[in-house]
Each structure stands twice: as C-alpha cells, then as structure tokens.
C-alpha cells in the first residue's frame, strides 16, 4: 500500500509578534515543527507500511522563508521510516486552504498512491479543511478525525471520533483520504544518529509555479488583519518567586476548596 502523508510545519508560539502590515505572523524568531496531528498521520502510515509493505511519501507545502525547519521536518520523517519527501515551495504569498488544496491536488495527480493521510487539524490556523477539499477535487472518498484504521483486502475499517467519547465505525475502500486524530498511535522518536544520517538523503523540491500559473488567483479567503485577542482581564495573575507563589496559591486553594 503506497501512502502519501501531507504534513505541515507549524510554529511553537509563546508571545506572538505581528508584522508591520498587521496581517502576518513575524516568524523570524520562531521554530517550526511538524504539526501535532500530522505526526500521528505519519506514524500510522509507517505502521501500515511495516505491516503491508509499500512506500510512504511525505509531502509538504511550505514557505521558503522557513526552509531550514521544513528540511529538518523531512529528514526526521526519513529517520522515522518515510521513503520519499517532497517540498512544494512558495515564497512571499498568502495562500488559503482553497489555493493550497488546488496546488496539492494537482501535485497528487502526478504520483501514484492508495491512501492519503494528514492530521485532522493544524495547531496554527485550525481550518480542518484541506484534506476534505483535496478529496473532493480528486474525487476520493474521505473521512475525518480517524482514531483507528484496519485494512481488510481493499477495504479499510476506520473509527471516527465524535463528541463526548462516542465513536462511529465506517468501511471505506481504497483509494481514499483520511484525516487522523491525535492518540491513534504512539509516534516514534528516531535516535539522533538516524536523523543525522537522513540528512544525506535527497528531498524533491517543486515550485508552486511549476504546478499552477497564478496561485494568487485561487485564494478565496483573504486575511485582512491578524491581532492579539483583547484581554478580558479575567484572572488575578500572580507572578514572583516560587516559594512566595506556593504560599499564596496554598492560601487561595484553602479559601476556595470545600472542607
């Protein structure tokens, strides 16, 4: 079973800084890692490859500004067990899920696969839209929030996570697309030597212009403003030395905890 895993590099954010135009995140001091649910999608692909054979191809669409972190993400995927890595690069443009879905779909038309996996949600923009749109473009059956996948012949038995602890079970044939929920497996941590050795392996680079002439024209949802939410000032925030904080916190707890 040949599996494509779509992954995205997302930043770890403490204090957010916004660029001068008020529309973008200042990424100059941020470190990007593979989006959390994508790590589960990749692990699921590698587990299936180990069981049934085939190939795992990791595909990412990324801004060349964060090239180093994106390369690291692909090398780490190799170290975990991915066979091929593809970076579709763009630079200096804003892409919404519609543009991204079109670009990735057109790229997927050029390669062979039985299954496409990706994370159910990205920790940055939280659209949960890309996989669904790609599936519709490529006319693949899809389902989302998958928490278990079993293969029987050409048919997958998948479990979807619903609210309040309920789950729904579906049968879905290959080829298809699944968005993966966290907790489906335990992603492996490859040893450092493996990651270092992976650095000598090639990464395929594709420019979005090679896929689509005018990517800007595909954008339907334009960001007009990015900002820090106005604080409602709810909490009494305590700061200071741990000893002092522990004493104050103990006092607060004694005040509110019923006896």
């Amino acid at each position: 079973m040949d599996i494509v895993v779509l992954v995205k590099a997302t930043p770890v954010l403490e204090e957010a800084k916004i660029t001068e135009d008020g529309k973008n995140l200042d990424t100059s001091e941020l470190k990007f890692f593979m989006n959390e649910t994508d790590t589960y999608a990749l692990e699921e692909a590698i587990l299936k490859k180990e069981k049934y054979g085939g190939k795992v191809t990791v595909v990412t669409l990324a801004d060349s500004e964060i090239e180093n972190d994106v390369n690291d993400m692909i090398y780490e995927s190799y170290a975990k067990g991915a066979d091929d890595g593809v970076i579709i690069e763009y630079s200096g443009i804003y892409l919404d899920p519609y543009a991204k879905a079109m670009i990735i779909s057109d790229f997927l038309k050029t390669i062979k696969f039985d299954l496409v996996l990706l994370g159910a949600q990205s920790t940055d923009t939280s659209y949960s839209l890309l996989g669904q749109l790609i599936a519709r473009h490529l006319d693949l059956p899809y389902t989302t929030l998958v928490s278990s996948v079993e293969l029987n012949g050409n048919m997958l038995k998948v479990v979807r996570e619903l609210e309040e602890g309920l789950q729904a079970v579906y049968e879905i044939p290959l080829p298809s697309l699944l968005t993966i929920q966290s907790g489906i497996n335990t992603p492996r941590y490859p040893p450092f030597v493996k990651i270092r050795n992976a650095r000598s392996r090639p990464i395929k680079r594709v420019s979005i212009e090679d896929i689509i002439k005018d990517p800007r024209s595909l954008v339907k949802v334009k960001r007009t403003r990015l900002y820090i939410p106005p604080s409602k000032g709810a909490a009494n925030i305590l700061k200071g030395e741990p000893e002092e904080l522990a004493a104050k916190l103990a006092e607060i707890i004694r005040g509110v905890v019923p006896r």
């Binding site: 954010l13 403490e14 204090e15 957010a16 920790t123 940055d124 923009t125 939280s126 949960s128 839209l129 669904q132 519709r136 059956p141 899809y142 389902t143 989302t144 479990v159 996570e161 619903l162 609210e163 309040e164 602890g165 309920l166 789950q167 729904a168 079970v169 579906y170 049968e171 879905i172 044939p173 966290s182 907790g183 335990t186 339907k220 949802v221 334009k222 960001r223 007009t224 403003r225 990015l226 820090i228 939410p229 604080s231 709810a234 909490a235 009494n236 925030i237 700061k239 741990p242 000893e243 904080l245 522990a246 916190l249 103990a250 607060i252 707890i253 004694r254 509110v256 905890v257 019923p258």
Partner: protein, 319 residues
C-alpha cells in the same frame, strides 16, 4: 437575507451546538432582515419538531429517511445540498462539530460556496463577508474576507448561547429525500466501556496538561488531588500519550465538568479543552507562559514552572 442553519442530531438528541448556529442565524436576521430555515437530516426526526421550533426559526425542513440514521457524508451532502440549492441562501451556518467538520466542506463544494470554518463572529459588508477566526490555540485572532455575497461557515461550539425558547408555531416540512450512494458505509456507533471513577462527580479536580512534563510530576498532581479530596483529570495530550485513561479527559471530545474548583496545571487553554470546564465555579491555572489563553478564563492564575512550584505547593498544603 435568506439564512440556512444546518442542525444535527447527536446521541439521540438535538446537539447543543445546533442551537448556537440558530442563535447566530437569528442575530444576522435581526441585523439584515430575512428568513431563517433550519435543515436537519436523520431518521425519525418528527419527535424533535417541538424542540426545534424555537424563536426566530421561520421554517424547518426535516430530511427523514431510514438510510440517514447514521451520518454518512455522501448521502447527507446530496440531500442537504439539494434543499440549500432550492433556497439559494446568502449564508449557510453549521456548527464546527465532528459532523460539521466532515460534512460542510463537502456541501460547500457541492453548492459552489466558499466555506470559512471555525468562525467566532461574522459581518456582512454589502459585497461580501468578514469572519473572525481564533487561531494558534487562542493566541491570535484573524479577520478574513470573502468577496462573495454567498458564504458557508462553521462556528466554534461554545462561542454563542444555546437559546431554546420553544414557540411551537414554526412550519415544519418533512421530506423523504433521494439517497445518494457513496463508496463509504457507516457500520455503527460505539461507546467504549471503560471502568473508572466519574470525574464529573468531584468537587475538586486537579487537571494536568502537557506542561506537567513527566510522570513523576503526574504523581505529585495526584497527591495534590488527594489532599484536596478531589480527583485527577487531564487534557487530551495526556490521554494520547497513554499517561491517563480517556475517562479522565476533559473537553469537547470527552467529559464536560463543572466542579467547585478546577486546578489546571500546564494546560494552554485550547477551545476544545475550555468547552469542557469553563463553567467551573473557581478556576485556578498554573502555566509558565504568561500569554497562555487559559488565564483568560481563570479566576486565579499563577505564572510559574510546575517543576518548581508543585513540590513547594504540596509542602505548604501539608503544613
């Protein structure tokens, strides 16, 4: 303005977020005038008619068919999209739930509307729409613009009230739609049976997130819970890592809790977590990041590293 809300049946009842979609539909109706139609697909829906006939809903379309008992995207898409086409609304609103997340992209694709997911608020500009979205786990907001008078949106559960004032006077139309056959087949719904304590029954919950960092700290958190006669709960990553069973998870995909005191240790405050605990009487949060969104909904916040604070806190409480 023609407004369509897509409701949903969950666990043999109208889902709470359905009422939030209706609330937003009503707000838009008040501001721009027009008509609000609620569409729901499923099986044996008539029994929900009264519950759905709430203030502001002008008409209800029940797409009722035995094959729609379990949610299946292709059949639901075809049935609901058909009704939406006939109404040709300016806006389609659905909750961003497990069903909405799966179904709305497909419906929007079918009817050729641009879908903006995970919206917190919405404005019509005359030529198009501006939606506000909560991103980066609550650390940032973005305004996005769609240059089209027609739009589909999903809204974040928990952002709008769930008003349920029944009127009984809404027109209800029951239809048996044609069923489209997809390649996928629903098999059933399961609820994994897990034996554990019921965290909804405790007055005090000590809840740990990824920031707890280690299993040793988890033991200290458990000790804190015991001192306070409470129970240990957690955010999702702790269950994902296998450190605690799913029965301890608080949030939209697990349990909703409302204890007297909720102590959050190393939890960032993602919507999916907050929706399960924000109505607790007193919320106390410890986080090393002063910008953590959890502080926005807390009554007391402590900016500290758990590794330093927790042992000292236990000492203090044992005094």
């Amino acid at each position: 303005m023609e407004i369509v809300c897509i409701g949903e049946i969950f666990n043999n009842d109208v889902s709470g977020p359905t009422y939030e979609a209706i609330y937003l539909g009503n707000e838009l109706k008040r501001e721009y005038g027009g008509k609000l139609t609620l569409i729901i697909a499923g099986k044996d829906l008539e029994k929900y008619s009264a519950k759905l006939s709430i203030q502001g809903v002008d008409s209800i379309i029940l797409l009722d068919h035995p094959s729609l008992e379990l949610y299946e995207q292709v059949a639901y898409t075809k049935a609901i999209a058909g009704e939406i086409r006939a109404i040709s609304p300016q806006i389609v609103i659905a909750p961003y739930t497990s069903q909405g997340m799966d179904l709305l992209p497909s419906i929007a694709h079918e009817i050729g509307y641009t879908l903006v997911t995970y919206c917190q608020s919405l404005k019509f500009t005359g030529n198009g729409w501006i939606a506000t979205r909560v991103i980066y786990g609550g650390k940032l907001l973005e305004d996005v613009e769609v240059d089209d008078k027609n739009i589909a949106v999903t809204i974040r559960p928990g952002d709008f009230p769930q008003l349920k004032q029944e009127t009984g006077s809404t027109s209800v139309l029951k239809k048996s739609p044609e069923i489209a056959q997809g390649k996928m087949r629903p098999v059933g719904i399961v609820k994994p049976a897990l034996e554990d304590i019921d965290i909804t029954k405790y007055d005090v919950l000590v809840s740990v997130g990824r920031g707890i960092g280690s299993k040793e700290n988890l033991e200290m958190a458990d000790e804190l819970a015991k001192i306070l006669n409470g129970a240990l709960a957690c955010s999702r990553p702790i269950v994902d890592m296998g450190w605690l069973p799913k029965t301890r998870q608080v949030g939209s995909s697990a349990k909703t809790v409302k204890p007297k005191v909720y102590i959050a240790l190393g939890i960032s405050g993602a919507t999916n977590h907050i929706n399960g605990m924000k109505n607790s009487n007193t919320i106390i949060s410890v986080n090393k990041d002063p910008y953590a969104p959890i502080f926005e909904i807390s009554h007391y916040g402590v900016v500290a590293d758990i590794n330093d604070l927790l042992p000292l806190l236990l000492e203090e409480l044992k005094k």
